[in-house]
Structures are given as C-alpha cells and as structure tokens.
Symmetry: C5
Subunit: 373 residues, 5 copies
Amino acid sequence: MAKKKKKKLRSLLSKRKAHARKAPGTAPGTVQYTGDQKVDEVSIKVHDYDVDHVEHISIADIEESRPFLENSSKTWINVTGLHDVDKLKSIWKYFDLHPLVQEDIVNTSQRPKVETYDNCIFFVLRMLSFDPENKSLVSEQISVVLGSNYVLSFQETDSNYFQPIFNRLEAGGRIRTQPTDYLAYALLDTVVDHYFNVIEQIGNEIEEVENILFEDEETNQDLLQKVHHIRREVVFLRKSVWPLRDALNTAIRDDSDFISDHTKLFLRDVYDHMIQVIDSVENYRDMVLSLHDLYMSSMSNRMNEIMKVLTIIATIFIPLTFIAGIYGMNFDPEASPYNMPELSWYWGYPASIAIMVVLALIMLYYFKRKGWL
Amino acid sequence: MAKKKKKKLRSLLSKRKAHARKAPGTAPGTVQYTGDQKVDEVSIKVHDYDVDHVEHISIADIEESRPFLENSSKTWINVTGLHDVDKLKSIWKYFDLHPLVQEDIVNTSQRPKVETYDNCIFFVLRMLSFDPENKSLVSEQISVVLGSNYVLSFQETDSNYFQPIFNRLEAGGRIRTQPTDYLAYALLDTVVDHYFNVIEQIGNEIEEVENILFEDEETNQDLLQKVHHIRREVVFLRKSVWPLRDALNTAIRDDSDFISDHTKLFLRDVYDHMIQVIDSVENYRDMVLSLHDLYMSSMSNRMNEIMKVLTIIATIFIPLTFIAGIYGMNFDPEASPYNMPELSWYWGYPASIAIMVVLALIMLYYFKRKGWL
Amino acid sequence: MAKKKKKKLRSLLSKRKAHARKAPGTAPGTVQYTGDQKVDEVSIKVHDYDVDHVEHISIADIEESRPFLENSSKTWINVTGLHDVDKLKSIWKYFDLHPLVQEDIVNTSQRPKVETYDNCIFFVLRMLSFDPENKSLVSEQISVVLGSNYVLSFQETDSNYFQPIFNRLEAGGRIRTQPTDYLAYALLDTVVDHYFNVIEQIGNEIEEVENILFEDEETNQDLLQKVHHIRREVVFLRKSVWPLRDALNTAIRDDSDFISDHTKLFLRDVYDHMIQVIDSVENYRDMVLSLHDLYMSSMSNRMNEIMKVLTIIATIFIPLTFIAGIYGMNFDPEASPYNMPELSWYWGYPASIAIMVVLALIMLYYFKRKGWL
Amino acid sequence: MAKKKKKKLRSLLSKRKAHARKAPGTAPGTVQYTGDQKVDEVSIKVHDYDVDHVEHISIADIEESRPFLENSSKTWINVTGLHDVDKLKSIWKYFDLHPLVQEDIVNTSQRPKVETYDNCIFFVLRMLSFDPENKSLVSEQISVVLGSNYVLSFQETDSNYFQPIFNRLEAGGRIRTQPTDYLAYALLDTVVDHYFNVIEQIGNEIEEVENILFEDEETNQDLLQKVHHIRREVVFLRKSVWPLRDALNTAIRDDSDFISDHTKLFLRDVYDHMIQVIDSVENYRDMVLSLHDLYMSSMSNRMNEIMKVLTIIATIFIPLTFIAGIYGMNFDPEASPYNMPELSWYWGYPASIAIMVVLALIMLYYFKRKGWL
Amino acid sequence: MAKKKKKKLRSLLSKRKAHARKAPGTAPGTVQYTGDQKVDEVSIKVHDYDVDHVEHISIADIEESRPFLENSSKTWINVTGLHDVDKLKSIWKYFDLHPLVQEDIVNTSQRPKVETYDNCIFFVLRMLSFDPENKSLVSEQISVVLGSNYVLSFQETDSNYFQPIFNRLEAGGRIRTQPTDYLAYALLDTVVDHYFNVIEQIGNEIEEVENILFEDEETNQDLLQKVHHIRREVVFLRKSVWPLRDALNTAIRDDSDFISDHTKLFLRDVYDHMIQVIDSVENYRDMVLSLHDLYMSSMSNRMNEIMKVLTIIATIFIPLTFIAGIYGMNFDPEASPYNMPELSWYWGYPASIAIMVVLALIMLYYFKRKGWL
C-alpha cells in the first residue's frame, strides 16, 4: 500500500522534472525537445472538411497535405509526437513558423499563452487529465497554430482527447460550416472542459479524505501523504489555469483577422468557464488548507483521547496500588502496637478493599463530571 | 447524532457535485440540463400588470402568453422547472433567445453574471437559502431575461422565494407604475436580501460553536466537523457573492435601453447591499479561521488540564509507593543489624506514614505554587 | 468572573444581531427602524448660530425650526432617537429627503458612505466608543444631511459625543465664522477622533494580555476568550473604518457646491487621520494573530513544563520502585542458595539503598545536562 | 534577566502610547504637542552656506535669522525640541506656515507624508534608530519645510542624526553648490539610510534567535518573548516605511518649483533605496513568521524527546515491576501445590531475574528499531 | 554533521550581511565597493567580433580598447573584480558613465533594475547559482552597460557563467550577425536560465525533505533546520526575481534606440521565462509552507505513536500490578477469616494469574478496536 502511494507522489514530481530546460546560455530559438519520447513515431493526420464533406487522411510527409491546403475546404493538421525534431522542422518550414514558435512547440514546459504573429496565431495550451491507474494528474502540452485557412495542432502523445471533435466533424453542424477559427475554439474549449473533470476528481479526493477524517478511527502517515498530494495537485492546477485566463483574454482582445467576432463570442464563453475553473481552484486551495487544519485537529483530538485513557487508568490505579503497597510493608507488629495494627484487625482486609473501591468510585465520578467518560 | 451530521455534510458536497457538466468536447451551445429534476412538470405562469390591474394566469403553452405580451401592460412570465428541455425550447424560440443564453439557463452551475444581447439583458443569479431541516445551504439558479416589455424568469424548483413580489404586485405601488426593469430589479433585490438571511444563519452557527467552546467541558469530533462545515459554507457563499458584485457593476454601467436611469439608482442601492454582504462574508472568513484557532487552543487547554491531573496524581503517589515498596522488601533483619532495622522500631510504621504525608503535602504545596491546583 | 466574560461576548454578538434587516422581497425605500429603541422619545434640538450669536432650542415639531432656517444664520438640527418613524417622516418631508436616504437613516446597519443628492449631501457614519462598564465596543449610526444652509443629524441614543462641538459653538472661533459644511466636517472629525480612542483601548487590551502571557504562571480559558474577543473587536473595527475611507475620498472629490474647497482641505486632513487609523487597525490585525500564536506557544511551553515534571518524577522513581519490588519477592531462600541470597547478606539492605541513591543521582545528572532542571 | 526583557517590551509599547492624541471634538488645527518633553529648551540653529562659506550660528529668537535669510546664501534652520509651543509659534508665524502644517509638526505621531503648499513643501519623516542600551527601536518625527531659499527642520531630541550632513557642509562639494532642495534631499536620504541600519539590527536579532533555536538545548518563555518582540518591531517598521514610499513618489511627481529636476534624479535614487528597504521588511515579515513556526516546531521536537524518555523508562520498568509484584504475593504455598510453586524452585529467583532482563532487552531492541534511542 | 549544517546557514546569512551599506548621511553618488574582494586583480577582457571574425584580448588599461571600439566591429568589454575602484574609475571615465551608475556597479546589493541614460542603457542583474559544495545559494551582481556599439559588463568573481556565450561567439550564428543589443539580451537570458537551475535545485531539496518525512522513522532538529533553510532560499530567490520582472518590462517598453525591435521580441521571450520562474517561486513558497505543515503533522503523528506505546503498556500493566499488590499485602489471615482468605485457597494463585491474563486480553481487545494496535 505504502509502495503505491509513493509511486503516486513520484509521478507528480517527475512531471515537475519534465520541466527541465536546455542548458543556460544556449542560443535562443534553439529547437530541442525537453520531454520524454512518448510515441513511436511522429504521425501527421489531415482532417479536411467543409459543409459538404469531411476526410481524415494520415500522411507521411507534410508535402502530401498541399492539395488539401490549396483547395477551398478547411484543413486541420494534427501532429502527434514531438521527439523527431527533423520531421517537425519540415512541417514548420512548410508553414513558415517563427523560430520562437518552433522552440515553444517542443519545449513542453511552456506556460499557456496566446501570441499573434504575421501569418498565424499561436496558442500554447496545457491539457490536464486524471490518470485513474496511478491516481495522479497527467499533463500534456498542446500547441495550436491558427493560420488563414488551416489549423495546425501538436500533441506529445496519441491520447484521444480530440475524439469528440472528430465525431462532431463527422456529425456535421456548426463546426463544419464555420471557418477554421471555430475549430481552434473547439480545441480550446475541449481543453478547458477537461479542467472541470480534473476539478471534480480533486473534489472527490478532498471528500474522500474528509470522510476518513470524520469517520474512521485511525489516521496515519498515509492520509497525511494524501492531503499533501492533493495540496500539490491544487498548486499544479493553479499554475496551469491562471496563465490560460490571461491568454484567453489576449485572444478575445486580439484585433488581427484570424479570429472572427462571431468566434470571439464563443471564446468569451470559454473565458467564463475559465473563470469558473479558477474560482473552483481558489476554493479548493482554501479547502485543502482547511483539510490540513482538520488533520491536525483530528490528531489533537486523538491525542487527547489517548491521554484521557492513560490518565484515567493511571489516576485510578496508582493510588490503589499505593494503598496495597502500604499493607505490603513488613513492619514488625510485635515490635510495637503502632506497627501496622490494621493487619491483624478482624475487618482489616475487607476494610482496605472497601477503601480502594470507594476511592476508585470517587475518581470515576470525578472523570464523569469532567466529561472524560 | 453523528449520522445526522454526516448527512448535513453530504448535502453540501452533493451541491458541488450538481456542478457536473456536459462531456468535454461537446459542441458549445448544447442545451442540456445539468441538475436533478426537482418538480413534476415545467409550469409557466404569466403575471400581467399595469397601474390599473394585475392578473396571474397559469398557461400550458407559451403561445397563450401572446395576448398579454402584445397589449400595453407589463408582463412577467415565470417558468418553474428546467428538466423538460423541449418545452423550454418552445419558450426560447418564442422569445428568440441566443443559443448561449439557452445553454446557461439549463446549465445550473453558472456563475452569477449579467450579459447584454440585442434583444434582451440576461441575468444569472444564485438564490441561497438556509434549509432549516438538515441545517444546510440550499442553492438554486435563477435566470432572468429582461426584454423591452417583458420579464422572463426561470427557476428550478417551485420554491416561494418570489411570493413577497406577488404580494407587492397585488398591493400596488411603485412596482405597478414602473416599467419592467423595475420588476427585474425587484427580483434581484430579493435574491440579495436572502443573502442577509444566510449570513445571519452562519453568524448564529459561529456563535453557537463559540458558546460550546467557551462553556461546555467536552468538545469532540462533532464540533470539529461543525467548524469545518461552517468553513465550507463560507467558501461556498463567497463563490456566489463575489461574481454577483461584478455582475451588478456591469448592469449599473450598462448603456443599453433596457435599464432606465431611474432603476439604476435602485440597482446602486442593491450594489451597496451586495458590498455589505461581501464585507460580512470576508469578516466571517476571518472569524471562521479564528474559530478553528479557538478549537485548537481549546484542545491544547484541555490537554494541559488532562496532563496536569495525571502529573499531580502520578507525582504524588509514585514516590509514596516507592517508600511503601522499600518497607515491603524482605531483607532478613536477623542476618544483620543493618537490614531494615526500621521494621522493628517502636514508631517505625507511624514514622513512615508521617514521612509519606509530609512528602504529599510538599508536593501539593509545589503544585499550588505552580498554579496547577 | 466567567459570567461577566460571557456577558461581554454577548454584547458584541448582539451588536451583530442588530444588523437584522427587513424581510427579503420588501419594497425598497421601505422605512423601517432596524435597531432597538434606545431613548424614550424622539427629541429635536436646534442649534442656530452665526458669527454673532448662538442659540440652543429644543423643539417638539419640526415646523418650529422654520424661523431659524429662514433667517440668514446657520442652523444645525440634531435629532435623537430613531424609533418613532412617524415623527421622523415629518422631518424628512419638511426637508424633502429622497426615500433611499430615509431608509438609510433608520436602517442602523448601514456601511459608512457619502452620497450626493440634488438638494443635499448625505453622510452615514459609524460612531464607535468603548463602553468601560462591560468592556466592549459600542457602535452607533450617525446620519448627517448637509443642505445648503443647514445640517441635519440623526443619532440613535442621547450620548454626548457632540458635547465638545456644542462647547466650540459656544466658545466661538472658526466654527462660527465658517459655513455649515465646516460644521459637517467637525462632526465627521469627531467620529474619526473617537476611533483613536477605540484603537488605544484595543492597544491596552493587547498589552494586558501580553503581560499576562509573559508574566503570570497560569493561563486559562478566560484568557483565550479575551484573545478571541480582541480579535473580533479588530474585525468589527475594520468593517467600520475601511468603508469610511472610501466615503471620505468620495466627499473630497465631490464637485457639488455643498462642500467648499476650504473645507475640503480640512476633509483631506480627516482623510489622513483615517489612513492612520487604518494603518493601526491593520497592524492590530497582525498583532492579534501574533497574540494567538503567543497563546499557543505559551500553552506548548507550559505543557512541556508539566511533562518535564512528570517525566522527572516517574523516571527517577519507577526504576527505584522496581528494585524495591525485586527485594519484596518471596522466593524461598531455603529452597536454594540462588534464591535471593542478598536478603540475608550483612550489607544487603544498605547496599540496595545505596544502589537506589546512585541511580537517582545518575538520573538527576542526566536531567541536569538535558537542561530539564 | 526577565526584568530587563520586560523593560524592553515596555519601551516599544510606550512608543505606541506616545501616539496619544488631543481629545475628540477638539478644533482642527489646534496646536498641541503630543509627545513627552525630551530636551530642556527649544534651540534654534542656523546653518548659512553657499559655495564660498559655511556658518553655524545658534540663535535665541527667530528674528535673528533674518539677515541670513535675506542674503543670497542658502539657509538651513534646525529647531530642536517641540514642547515650547509659544516659541515654535513665533517661528511658524515668521515663515507663515499653514495651521495644518503647524499642527502636524508638534503632533509627533504623524504618518510620513509630503504636502505641497503655496509657499513651501512640507515633509513629515520618521527617523528610526536602534537604541543599543535597551535593545529597542527608537522613533523620532522629523519635519522638514522646504521654502524657496531656506530649509526649516524640526526634531524632538538633540540626537546627532544630522552630524554627517554638518560634516559634508563643512567639507564642501555638491551640497554647497546645489540649491536648498538638494539639502532637503540629503536630510531625506539620511533618514532612509538609517532604515538600513535598523534592518541590519533586526536581521541580527533574527539570526541570534535562529542560532539559539538550532543549537541550545533549552528554549523558554524568554525566547518566545524575543520572537514576539522582533515581530512587533517588524510591524512597527512596516508602518513607517510604507507611507514614506508613497510620500517620496508624490515628491518625485511634484510639479511645483521647489524641487528641481536635477534633485528629482537623486530623489528617484532614494526611492529605489526605499523599495529595497520595503523588500527587506516584507522578507523579514516572512522570516519572523517562519521564526515562530520554528519555535513551535522546536517545542514539538523537545516535547517528543521528553515523551520518549518517559515512555522508554516507563515501558521498560512497568512490566518488570509487575513481575516483581507477582512474586511478592503472599499466596500460601502450603495450602496448595499450585500456589506459587516457583518460589521454592531451585532456580526460581535467577530465572525470574533472567526473564526480566530478556524482557528489558526486547524492549530496548524495539525502541532501537523505532529509532527512539 | 550538525557542524556542516550550521555552516550552510551561515553562508546564506552572510550573503545578507554583504548587503552592508555606506554609513548614513554619506554623500550620494559616493563610489564605494560594499562586497568582499573576491579576485586578486581587476581584469579587463575585450571580445571584439563581427560576422567575419571574433577576437578575445585581455588588456591592462582601458585605453587599449580604443582601436576595437573605433572600428566597425562590435565590442564586448567584460570587467572582473570590483574592489579596485581607481581602475574602475578609469573605465567609467572612458565611457563617461553617470555617477549613480558608477555607485550602483560597486554597491553589490542593488535590486535588479534597468535604467536609461543619455548615452547608454544600464542593467543591474543578480546571477544566482547553487554552490554544490556547501549546498547553498551563491549570488553575484552583474552590471551591464549597453552603449551604441559596445557592451560593458562587470562581475565580482571570475566565475565562468558566460562561457557558453564565448562559445557561441566562437561558433558564429545569430549572435555574431546581430548588433550589440542582442549580446546584452544573451547575457540577460543566461542569467534567467540560471534561475531555472536554482529552481530545480530547490525543487530537489523539497523532494528530498518530503521523502525523509514520508519514509524515515526518525525526524529531528536537522530536518527542521533544512526546512527552514529552504524557506529562506525561497525568500531570497523571490527578492531577486520579482524586481527583474519589472526591469525587463521597462526594457521592453523602452523607446530609446539602444534596443532594436527585433531584440525586443527576444526580450519578450526572456520576460515569458521570467514569469515562468516567478510562477515556480510562488509555487515553491506554497510548497515550503506545506512542507512545514507536513513536518508539524509528522511530529504530531510521531507523538501520537509514542503516547500510544506508553498508554498501552501503562494501561495493561498498572491494573495487573495493582492486583499483584493486593496479594502482596500482609493482613494476618489468622486474625480473621475475612483477612485475605484467597491466599490459602487451593486455586488461589492460578486464579489470580487467570484474572490478570483475562484483564490483559480485555485491554488488548479494547486497543485493537480503537485501532491502536
């Protein structure tokens, strides 16, 4: 059990470690993947769609996407895997991306942000989800490049976060009729929607700990570790959601032509959801502090209970043992009539027992009145 | 007792759960009720009024409200129950509401907000009240659409929060003479007024816990749970009142024609009340932290008292028992004149008792001087 | 003693209760006194003054003030008692006050504020003073209406807060030569000056608790209650002073004709004092937190001391008692030469006593080195 | 020792008391010295200087300064002692100072501020220094009036804070060539420089407490008092430095002619130092909180150690004593073969001793493994 | 071990001491080195480069740099060592630096800042690195003067922080083709990159402490010291990074000609990194607080465990010892049939043992149910 807990902690820590960076002094704009390889191969998938049709084609070389980009339909190119920098470079070159954009795509510890360039808008998003297996937060950087008639997205793993969007593309509706900026919005909305899942998970964890604290008799180091783990998750979540709020705000106020006013209305809706997420995160922050206070208070309560048991037992029996000790003394009754005459009294023993019982009852009454029993 | 407490906690948690949302990636503007069904049927009630008359009519179909909307009198349509999305859709269509408004009305975990659209102003409010039965906060989303000559309000339950407004409509006065924006203000004012009730309730709970902490001998896990419960209530209340402040501010600064300057004067009054509510909530936040500190200090005090009892008893009797133990040793007085000659002294036993009494008195004097008695 | 303390706490809590409000949904502008009746009768006192003369006249009906208002001298009408709404209404009507002003005058739980109307400036102030009898903060709402040539003030009780101003009116000087806005400023200044008294009182209470914590041997639940009481007082004070700062700022920036630039210079001085009060309140907030930490640390110190006494006594005597117990065993020396031969040794008893003494000395030396003695 | 500590605390508290004020309701602009008399007599010293000469003359009457003020050289008039209001009034009248300036000069509990009047700029500064004798902060209000060709400064005591400036006047250099605003800057710079000394002193105190906490065996109430004392010093320091930052900002943005652009460049430098002071104060605030946590943790550590000693001793000897108690029972072996036959076994006594030794060793091993030894 | 820890603490404290300043009242602009001499001699190194060549020349006198400055290539002059003010003065004079710039270069406790002068832009940076030897933060002030065609940098030690830049100069690329402002950016970027290293180190330390707290049995004063040490490191780091953020912002908004728009794009990238650093620092601040709470909770857990051991042992054996004590009493069975007849019962001894065993089992069952075993 303790083993598993430890593993859980590690996985969160290693996420922090993944924020490793290139060596200090390295030339800026240096393209270097800072994560671990997570898929076998970089795969490129083209989703070409307009009101009338939708196509999903896997391509090996970015040049193969040319016909889709050149026709009048809208094109979404989704790239999975970031470890093969050479292949990525061919894509970047094809779309003529700025060196800093290139650097940010593969440096997978970026803060969420939105940046406007001459030929595109560039979003860095952080997809968070809850890995049910080892009960920890999983984080993945999603980069989205919104050009005039295409959306280019990069993700580290072949996770199926965007499956619902594929489905909506298939199903038709607004997503097919609107320009590509609406697709970019849909990707963003999906990321934010996932935050709600994470928040619910953390809420469940908090509730679980609360229940253990209020119901179970025994709390231990494991529970403390859990409280600490939740605390770190909230810290981690905060680090992801606050910058995205600012990024969204930038996007809404953006006056380039890449995002239409119509789509901005929807972005404002995402922004509202973001604020809701932030509200929840801030509340969870309060709650986790409260949880720790609760843990400490529970400890104190338990300590008090332990001390009460000890005090009751010791306080009752120590005086009795003393009385028994008195009559265990070996003063010689024959040497003097004052030497323990009680020992040869007719009612001596019963009287001593009676005294002990009375003493014990007085103690018990005292504890009762103190509310210790 | 503990059972009931647990139920109380749950009900607050389940409220959080009600903030469940549609699945990530779902198309925006998707209309999907996220709460539990709370009334049997969606009911529509039309309140038609002007200076001279007031009428209350229940209608089955929104089309039936046409005559009231078309005449010159003011019309308030109150919809109760949000689970029957089809019926709601007919209403929305009738009033031509924006898809995002529609989504927000049934997604009952919205933050309070005010949004201006072309044909209406849309308010999302959160009515809070204190359920006396299981002593917990009850939350309900109220949506108000203020059009040019109508007010459309949506609530989840058939609670009678708006009864006083029905009464005022009957009674006549300003509410009958003023345009519909004044009615919208009256609804808003009612919601804010309820916050004062909630604040008073929480104040009572805080006071109750304080009294227990200062007067009763015994505090326990239940009390801790109560403190934690109040803390969560304050967190929950904060989450509701802060956004409403911003929303109100937006409404006051709104330059559309839906809200007259005359009504804005009253909105400013509601805004003042809102600030007062926020002041109280912030103070309660401080007080609840103080309450927890108080609990911890009380625990410490009690622990000290328990330890004092144990220490006094143990410190007095352990040395006495040791003396009794000495004279219970079986050294053979006949083997040597140095072997426990006290045992055969004439005053041996009384002297040993006297020593014990003196020792006990010294100890008691010491504790007295330490202030432990 | 505990009784009195409890009374003290109550009185602060009841103040909060006085913040009761009209029922939710009541029409805004409803005039309803929300405090307790504190004087027998509503009394009206007219202070008519100019450079040359000063008159103080009690009047029964507001109509009697007409001659004073119509002449060229300046007029201050002070109303004491807010429970007789009918009488108040006659005054309000006479001066043509806005309904919201009327509501605020009798709703005695307003936040301090300044509002400009067409015919007057309206101040809501909160007078705080320290009731020496039951050692608690007393709060009273003071409303001031500054018209073109009159000042109208309302207070709940017949407290003599404004006595110094009566004296200054009598004495002559700037207050007689300046227009009525200077009188309004003088009232405001008096309120702020009282805050300094309250701050000094709280400072004294903090100091008192500090002294007890650092000097006296015994601390108890009463002291904890005192710390908590001070904490609540600071919270209460904060709630009063922060809004007044904003209100003063509003008054200084006000561009109506009711306040002259000359008087604004003095208002700026009051504003500076206000900032000083707020600084002190914020510092006290820190100090009270510090005080609680101090209390907890003191508790810990005391607990450590208690534990040390117990540990020293138990650690010394338990092993000694064990040795005595050994030689109290009844093994039959005749059954075997190995059975407790010590009992019949010549130096047996002295040797056992010597061992005990040595053991005790070792223990004492150990505790000495640990610094426990 | 405890006596001295107590004195230390007092001196800080009495400083707060010195913030006493005139009675509420007193006319504003009332000139009344609120501190204690600290020098025998109010002394006036004129420092007249220009590029070519410097003169220091003590004068008894302000009229004597006329020749210096009327000539073309720059004049600094330094007034020491604020208790003789009549003498001060003659000075104020001579320079035609505004009543509020007069009030602020003698009310020695002002916040640091900068105010511009028609004929002068008025600075209120708070000089802080560390009194090495009773190890506490000493505070003194310095008022500086910067007129067109003079600087007028007021201080409560004859402290030699400005000695270095006298020296620089003697030595010549920029201070002699620049106009009087540069002298005012030099005074201000000196005050801010003293803050660095105070900060270093507090840093030393923090370090001292840290060393005691980490090295010495024994901590006690005195140390707690010291931590609390430092905490109050930081609170006090904060109260002085924050307002000065704003005041400096005001001075830099000031567009009157009293401060030249050239001097503003230097003021900006003082402002930078001020920010550095504030950074340090904020860091110390964090550190002092950390210090208290450290104290509490140390207490806990010590308590744990005490409890461990008690537990080890009690846990080892209580079972052994029980065994000894068993064989101290007086069951009659002759009444039955089952009655304590061990007592007459050949190896009875050695065996019982052996059992005890083994038991003790097991316990010791258990504690060793627990890491308690 | 404890020795080494102490040294670690010292080194951090001494850094604070290095913030010593010139005496209060000293003339501003006074050039005085406030650090310790860290290199033998002030050395000047010229790096002259353009697209076609790069040269590194050590010079003894600044005059020797004239040919490099006058030709068309770009020149970077790096000065190591700040103790020889005369030599520095010759450099400053050569470049005509403002007196306040001169003062800031040698006053090595400046806050990071950016200031624009007529002939240059002046950066004060704080290089932080982690000294692996005595595991503490090492801080060094780096001053950079960016002129029209040169970069002048000053550092206290001959650390090789800028080695990677030398390498890049050698290797060619953007750094050789861009103007000098790009070099200044590269220096800045290197400083910020080092912050990531420091952050990672602190992260490792936090993780290490967490592991000890969760895994090891024994925590002690050393660990507490470590927590406190990390806390101070975070405070120290914060003090360095926050001002740099503002400074960078100033540089980006700067409208002088020294920084080209092209370079500003890169500065914005550094700014983003800076925000990321600040995010991490703020998170670490939370985490360190959490760490201390963790420590305290661990202490409480351990205390509870100790108390449980004591309570179990004492609670089981004290009653048993009492029973043994009873039958150790010496009441004379011959004096009365009621005097301890049990002693001569046939099953007396076995029965008493049986009672003890049953009692012990009941206790054990009770503790089991309480979850203490």
